[in-house]
Amino acid sequence: MPRGSAPQPPHGPAATAPQRECLQQALALHLPDIPAEVPGGSASALLPVLHHIQDALGFVPPALVPEIGAALSLSRAEVHGVVTYYHHFRSAPAGRHVVQICQAEACRANGAVALMAHASARLACAPGYTRADGGVTLEPVYCLGLCATGPAAIVDDKLRARVSAATVDDWASRFEDAR
């Protein structure tokens, strides 16, 4: 039975031309990597394709989900399932600045829980959410492999070690200045 051969129109806005182009680039890059003799092998391009799209667009537009499925012989449900299973993938754009603070044990041992509370108050953003004005996304993450120099964080894709409340205050003022 052919799967995913009839893309359903998604709810919400249709995919834009640049989004479609991005998907085509991703497919051109990652589909040829799959050995032909692998049964159902095109599905194994799914994560690389999703990464390519998110790296380029900042999120995986839900409107692209049926088209991704059609291209990889997957159902819309299978692609949606993967996008929503993995914490890394976003279905909506993040804020202009993204602050991710590690909340795992090693950083907890150095005050990461209090640090998250401070960041939440200082950035006026609840952990796990994007502020209403789209200025900041604040997220917990679980281990960045910087466990000897915690608390650790990623701010706009840059790794940071030995983060303190004062460091968070610096970011907050920098974000304000840049508005």
Partner: protein, 534 residues
Amino acid sequence: MNLLSMLYLSRDAAAVAAGADEVSEALRDAAVARGDVLNHVRTGSRGMLWLEPLLEVETPAGRVAFGPVTAADVPSLVDAGVLDDANRLEGLRDTLRTHPLHLGLTEQIPYFAKQQRITFARVGVTDPLSLDDYAALGGWAGLDKALAMAPPAVVDAVVESGLRGRGGAAFPAGIKWKTVAAAVAPRKAVVCNADEGDSGTFSDRMLMEGDPYTLVEGMAIAAVAVGATCGVIYVRSEYPHAEAALREAIARATAAGHIGAALRGRGPEFRLDVRRGAGSYVCGEETALLESIEGRRGVVRAKPPLPALHGLFGWPTVINNVITLASVPRILADGAASYHAFGAGRSRGTLPFQLAGNLKQGGLVELPFGVTLRELLFDFGGGSRSGRPIKAVQVGGPLGAYVPESQWDVPIDYEAYAAVGATVGHGGIVAHDDTADLAGLARYAFEFCALESCGKCTPCRIGSTRGVEVVERLVAAPVSLKGAQEELLRDLCDTMVSGSLCAMGGMTPFPVLSALDHYPEDFGLPRRAAAGDR
């Protein structure tokens, strides 16, 4: 333009996060201001992470360390002559010897000198991506030996070395390889599990960033041993520096003919690829990892069939952790007996311990099995960073037990730790001081399990959420009602240990029960008389 001093600065993510790139830029600017070109190599990290960014200056006596260096320290280091070639030719300048960040010869810093660097021998020393550096320091010797041997002899060497899986499960690597080698199939694969999600661990990351060719060589040897023609390294998305290092290393090693169509230009085909994870802890479980590579949600598979017989795309597959595979080149190069000579009991070889959390001197310490936690915490770690007493130490990641002080003198090997209800795991050691609330940490263990459970089996999917609730009720209950909640909690843990499909649900009770057994007062329970713990 003058010849400048030879400098080394780490490119490890932990050094970069602490400002190594800014130090590099400041040094470059200082050199340019003098009309010179900076002469520096970005190495892996020596593993003394509390000293990062660590700057090393080459002298006739060896490399001399300065750290932790910030960009703001660069002008004073330049004034003291850090850029002067006299350091390399005549010895370290006196003005540098008296600089406040001067640490002496790197390899004589006790933290480093007391280690036995086997798997991490090159990390922090070489340019991680230089094929010349790799070959000059013994690279490819193990693969060359393997190519000259009959494949079953390669498997035997790994069996005889006593090497066990370093990812946590500690299954004998050679036995796994033997199963794959014996399988008859048109295609086989070697998969490297680089989904190092345990909090408190970073040895995989440091090796991939600091000596990626060792991992490439280890995978190639595994491929020769079992007859595999393709390999995949599954690296977590939280490790972009490691992923970049691996991709570049594979491209260079392929272009130079070390891997690809013919190993070392004369052996069998072995093609290597990198796949990026997407932030799912359970993908560190080998069958969930295979699901993820195949393009599905990271849901654990029921075993059997074993991945060794029915793994990636149904092919017989070797799946090993980064450190396991990276230990193999040395085993082949120097012989199984030389590796087997290290260690204690049935735990052979060395383990790169990772000192993390509330410690003054966090970092990577490679030592043979048999060292005690007390030695690691105090002789290496220097005690707590906060200066307060260390209360609890979680060994082996989020699924490992909290080890109380009464057990800190147990020599660390897989069996000795199992005997006291603890796990060595991947060698992560997270210290907490006396402000830690073990009931809160037990609750967090369940919270994390609820967040990361793949959902396939009920004890883990439902039990994790019920666990959060019952810990909260136990803590809040009046003393007279605590007994019933404690019984419920222990019963839940028993169900999860016995009924879960993989270690996620099956081991989450380890930190919980160890917290309850050794720190009952944190739950508002009385200390047990004659419990024999702590």
